[in-house]
């Protein structure tokens, strides 16, 4: 790994004690919120309130620490995010409201991310540089190149581009495009390339997808820093993200971070969305915090209850909200709208 990556000097040997206790609690709160939100979405999908569900239960331990460290804002001076469909933890940690994701699940007209058009967890937030999430696997690694170029060509900024996706998807050319473009001596790009490795692409296990020992090993070819971490541990994740971001902000070069996580409800609603016995990052986090007296049982209970209430209230409100009218399909075809001669009948 490059010598320019600064490993943070530990104040304590125990990584949990190196992070502010309040920050750990905030992380825990959002992780729980994310989990309960996803479980609500699954319930809605199964109950016919909305359709397809896909999301990130099991990835909160990595996604929440990431969302907390984003330099949030609009424009080239801030971090850009090119995310995939398991990123609710990132959005919530950045301040997204649960109600908006519920709106997208229910396909209401009030869905601020897509006006009832896209699957749930397909965020698009211009004010926070969250670029439109697309259902196409891996294309985000191609669009990330663009904001990376914008930042590389902006003098004096320390902003970076964050892109995430799954393990199976790295077989697509877009992943390799991103590696190649980000590592050219002519214009290195400040991109944090993240692969969340849950060991599956839908039903196909890793052994039928890939031969790399670690996906992060692709970094070696480019003499670029790369690391594989346990994404089920929020503290390990926090420090790994911090280290990677510090390197990119300063050196203006890419970093490849692979986080191994669980996939707690399988791939999506199409595979049943039932709980799967894999390690649970929230349980792990709570145990570690309890062990160190960073939180007590009562506080934990309160976190779950208050978030459950928050989501219940939001859900009740969304149920009152209207669906888009059919005519809304014409909105946003072109930025300036459509003129009278645009064919709208759908045939003769």
């Amino acid at each position: 790994m490059s010598k320019k990556v600064h490993t943070l000097t530990p104040k304590s040997n125990d990584p949990y004690l190196r992070l502010d206790a309040q920050l750990l609690k905030r992380m825990h709160n959002i992780m729980v919120r994310g989990r309960l939100l996803e479980e609500r979405l699954i319930k809605m999908s199964k109950g016919g309130e909305g359709f397809f569900w896909i999301g990130g239960p099991g990835e909160e331990g990595f996604n929440v620490p990431l969302g907390f460290q984003v330099k949030k804002g609009e424009g080239v001076q801030f971090d850009y995010l090119h995310l995939h469909y398991r990123s609710s933890g990132i959005a919530l940690a950045m301040g997204a409201e649960v109600i908006d994701t519920i709106r997208q699940m229910r396909t209401t007209a009030t869905d601020p991310y897509s006006r009832g058009r896209n699957f749930v967890n397909h965020y698009a937030v211009p004010e926070w540089n969250i670029m439109p999430v697309s259902p196409t696997i891996e294309t985000q690694y191609s669009t990330a190149i663009g904001t990376g170029i914008a930042q590389a060509h902006t003098k004096g900024t320390d902003s970076l581009t964050i892109v995430n996706g799954g393990d199976a998807g790295t077989a697509e050319g877009d992943f390799h495009s991103c590696l190649v473009w980000a590592n050219r001596p002519a214009l290195p790009l400040p991109i944090l390339m993240i692969v969340v490795n849950n060991g599956f692409g839908i039903s196909t296990p890793a052994a039928e997808q890939h031969g790399e020992k670690n996906i992060a090993d692709w970094a070696k070819t480019f003499d670029m820093p790369g690391k594989t971490i346990n994404g089920n541990d929020p503290v390990e994740s926090y420090f790994a993200i911090q280290e990677a971001m510090a390197y990119i902000r300063k050196e203006r070069r890419p970093y490849l971070l692979e986080a191994k996580t669980s996939r707690l409800y399988g791939h999506s609603s199409s595979s049943g969305a039932n709980r799967i016995p894999e390690p649970d990052c929230i349980k792990i986090f709570e145990e570690q915090m309890l062990k160190r007296n960073l939180i007590d049982e009562k506080e934990i209970e309160e976190v779950w209850t208050s978030n459950r209430n928050l989501i219940d209230d939001a859900y009740q409100q969304v149920k009152q909200e209207p669906y888009p009218e059919g005519d809304d399909i014409w909105y946003g075809v072109f930025a300036e709208g459509l003129d009278d001669t645009y064919p709208k009948k759908g045939g003769s």
Partner: protein, 352 residues
């Protein structure tokens, strides 16, 4: 007069100086080559990308979201096919985000036959391009139109696919571009890179002016009463020549409409002309299965059937997998001047 390559180059220069174009890139787009058709020679913001069309389109989209108004080149339209899902993202990101993400970007690419390019330098993409909804598609046939359409494409807040007819890129115009020196040789000396070592060469740009051809506005290249020809790109000057020759020979008075924009197309221009002539042929070099011209014919039949004197026609490319190199093969595959003449003769002879 400037040729189309020079015209586009001047438009890009105007764009980087005045319209906020921050990135111009693609394969061999930067120095020393400045594009395989010299379209990006001497531009400040032009640079060479990796040989990766998906990366090029993806990068352009990311840059568009960041407001950098990129102009990216796919070296030949024949190589755009592996980017279709990314072009779809360009077209749908405004819509998918409920109107939030504007996508001001231009993808320019040489299109069509006419340079003996065989299978992979002769393709047309027009019809497929028109199916990527949310993306505008333009295709000029003269240097001045190319200049004005490029400026409009750059200013547009939607993604624009700018198709450059390969066969016309070196053809000179008959109209001056605003700011272009009248002396052709002077222009060449100012903005064409020298052969050989160019490391110290810098262009001297003429004082160019803003000039827009509105996207969505067709041009009546020739007015006529007897029949309407609707075309674009490489076939536009051919159709105009044929129309003029027919008039001189007293064979008919043809109206020629150069669409210039395929999406959103100028329906008013089409209907106004057909209402006048009652006869229409759509001419382009895309293969006949399935062809953008077919859509226009269907709409004409639907909306103005009783105003037609005769059946509407299409002259298009043959539905074969490629265009062969041997000239007879190419000529048999895509419409040539003689095919245009024959088709128009038949159209005029059709009993009403």
């Amino acid at each position: 007069m400037a040729n189309m390559a020079q015209a586009i180059r001047m438009a890009l220069h105007y764009g980087e100086e005045n319209l906020g174009v921050k990135e111009i890139f693609g394969e061999d787009v930067g120095a020393p080559l400045g594009g395989v058709f010299t379209v990006s020679q001497g531009l400040k913001k032009a640079w060479n990308s990796p040989l990766d069309e998906r990366g090029i389109v993806g990068a352009a989209l990311g840059l568009a979201w960041a407001g950098f108004r990129p102009v990216a080149e796919v070296q030949f339209v024949d190589y755009i096919f592996n980017t279709i899902d990314l072009l779809k993202l360009c077209g749908n990101s405004l819509w998918a985000s409920g109107g939030k993400f504007k996508t001001p970007m231009v993808i320019m690419t040489p299109t069509g036959s006419g340079i003996h390019g065989s299978l992979y330098h002769s393709h047309s993409f027009d019809s497929i391009a028109t199916k990527i909804h949310g993306m505008k598609v333009v295709c000029p046939s003269t240097p001045l139109d190319a200049y004005g359409l490029m400026l409009s494409a750059i200013k547009d807040d939607n993604p624009v696919l700018f198709l450059k007819p390969k066969a016309l890129l070196r053809a000179k115009g008959v109209e001056l571009i605003p700011g272009e020196p009248a002396d052709e040789k002077a222009l060449k000396d100012m903005i064409d890179a020298p052969i050989g070592d160019r490391s110290n060469w810098k262009p001297k740009w003429p004082k160019l002016e803003d000039f827009s051809i509105p996207i969505g506005q067709a041009k009546i290249s020739r007015e006529g009463r007897d029949a309407t020809i609707i075309t674009h790109g490489r076939l536009a000057p051919i159709c105009l020549d044929v129309a003029n020759e027919f008039a001189e020979a007293g064979h008919g008075d043809l109206e020629v409409i150069d669409l210039r924009t395929l999406i959103p197309y100028d329906w008013n221009a089409i209907t106004t002309s057909i209402r006048k002539t009652g006869r229409v042929i759509f001419i382009n070099e895309e293969t006949e299965i399935t062809n953008f011209g077919e859509h226009l014919i269907r709409r004409v039949v639907d909306e103005m059937f009783y105003e037609l004197a005769v059946r509407p026609r299409l002259l298009a490319g043959k539905a074969v997998p490629g265009i062969g190199l041997s000239p007879n093969l190419e000529y048999a595959s895509v419409p040539q001047k003689v095919d245009v003449e024959n088709a128009i003769r038949e159209l005029l002879a059709d009993p009403a």
